[in-house]
Symmetry: C2
Subunit: 335 residues, 2 copies
């Protein structure tokens, strides 16, 4: 396996592999071997396997993994003997790079890809999923939507006989935290946003979260992956929570409802917008959780929720995809 990207998520994956590898070997007959790891500027590689905990401490102590790269990652890949790429570089919703290039290079080489990177999936879903199909390899991306919440694998692997009529949910923990605080503490939007920024829940530039851009990326991915649509983030009708006042929230509470930023994909289209949700409805949850509700023909409705972000939480989704590939075709022999 090759790790591309060694920030929070990459380090979480390395730690999770260190913690779970003995169990994985006992259960599936093979463990997961890291033959190369890239951060933004450097590279560590060893065809016999790198110690994941050594990688983490080197990154923390020296700020890098190893030798400075002189060429692009995609050009170095053909000389590495690996089975799976885990792509975890930061999301870029302008052109998807550099993740898109990494993913296309690996798929073209006939390597499986697991990714947490929303950019390539929200911009070029059909192109890269066709490439994976053509190469006969897996493209898995549970971590790109909902963090630890297994919404994609639940829907595609367990609800196999259900017709999925629609999916809606809370896809951004930061926005939900702000709405929840406005409601429970009677705070105005600006005060709740400031609190979220002080707690490290919201970024200094909060637009990506509160204007619904992050939610729009995720709902586009769900639309493509589960509802077999062919959309990009630009096709999503989008409204954020900047205009939500405390008055509006209090008015909703009087009717026993809460305001939530809901992403939805249905026959009508793909959209992100603030909506009124009855108290006691599953989608009325608070905190930074993500939640997804699928409306289906037999089950009626199935809801799944979990932590939408976090080092080990995102790693958890990546590990579940890696193990699915391991089960499917025994990856570990070559790395």
């Amino acid at each position: 396996m090759v790790l591309v990207g060694f920030g929070t998520v990459g380090q979480g994956v390395a730690e999770s592999i260190a913690r779970k590898n003995a169990m994985i070997k006992a259960r599936f007959g093979e463990d997961i071997r890291i033959v190369a790891a890239f951060d933004s500027r450097t590279l560590a590689s060893n065809k016999n396997g790198l110690d994941p905990m050594v990688l983490i401490s080197r990154k923390i102590e020296k700020g890098k993994l190893g030798k400075t790269r002189t060429v692009e990652i995609r050009e170095m890949l053909p000389s590495i003997d690996y089975d799976v790429m885990v792509e975890m570089t930061p999301t870029n919703i302008n052109d998807g790079e550099p993740g898109l290039g990494h993913i296309k290079a690996a798929l073209s080489q006939g390597r499986h890809v697991v990714t947490s990177n929303k950019g390539p999936l929200a911009l070029k879903f059909r192109e890269i999923s066709k490439l994976a199909k053509k190469s006969g390899v897996s493209l898995r991306f549970e971590a790109s939507v909902g963090g630890a919440t297994p919404v994609i694998n639940l829907t595609t692997e367990l609800l196999v006989c259900e017709k999925i009529c629609s999916i809606r949910g809370i896809l951004n923990g930061t926005s939900n935290y702000i709405l929840d605080r406005m409601e429970s503490e009677s705070m105005e939007f600006e005060a709740a946003l400031k609190e979220a920024q002080q707690m490290g829940i919201a970024e200094a530039d909060p637009s990506y979260d509160i204007d619904g851009i992050d939610s729009a990326c995720k709902v586009a991915i769900l639309a493509n992956a589960i509802m077999k649509k062919d959309v990009t983030v630009h096709d999503v009708e989008r409204a954020g929570i900047r205009g939500i006042t405390l008055d509006a929230i209090n008015l909703a509470l009087q009717e026993n409802k809460v305001v939530r930023l809901i992403g939805e994909v249905s026959e009508r289209g793909v959209e992100v917008s603030p909506r009124l949700i009855p108290r006691g409805h599953p989608l009325g949850i608070g905190g930074t959780r993500n939640i997804f509700q699928m409306i289906t023909d037999l089950a009626g409705e199935v809801t799944v929720a979990g932590r939408g972000a976090g080092r080990l939480e995102t790693a958890s989704a990546i590990i579940s995809d890696l193990v699915a590939i391991l089960k499917e075709d025994g990856l570990a022999k070559k790395g």
Copy 2:
């Protein structure tokens, strides 16, 4: 496949097979063939397959499926050529019969079993799961806990690398409906129970639901299946909702909390009891839904919710188990 039990759930399974068989054949290469169907007194069989919609209309019109049986179902099984038994007779928590006998007979013959019947699982889990293992066949029971909610398959198949530290949830829709109505309509317990009985949500004798017996069966099954414990329904510490007053619910609301009947399995043990849940917490949902929250080491928490009962909802869980077996070893050739 053999259907044992042809009440609400059995008819839901037959209808679901009729609706989904073309899709199942297209997707998995084989369809599901019903070679025999038993109700409490009669039997229909055809080694070339029975039409599921004809079975349903015959049952509705004539109150029976076919010829009156003269011997026990378990004695007739050896003469039938089948691969999977779907056991859907009513739950009996005294001795698990007749379901327990049917399940043991099928497993001993080397046939897979899919069941919605809580009795055998809440009383004799280890015995029948050992028997399945010895015979090298599958024993699947997603429908026995949470109706359409895929809690068992989600946990055992998707959260494979997670250490499951505890599971808690709302396992009985009738109790939750009563608590929800007391809270939202300021009704006393007796009035809410009466309303639930009039609506067909609660039975004339409501003890099984409101005293937590149904929840205790389900939490025992989860303890055995997911947490690898060895318990029966009798090992569950149990308190129901009969003693919950409107005063208690209003007091909780003042602290922004709701009262819910929670089943929990953890290192501390297995129990069912009313608890205070903060508003906005996933477990604070209303209505007749069932919900389950798993606390794990990497993902942190994963919650899944769905409809806990209903004809097609329960059938949905059974069909998902049947398809899992079909995927595992191509069941359909022999029925």
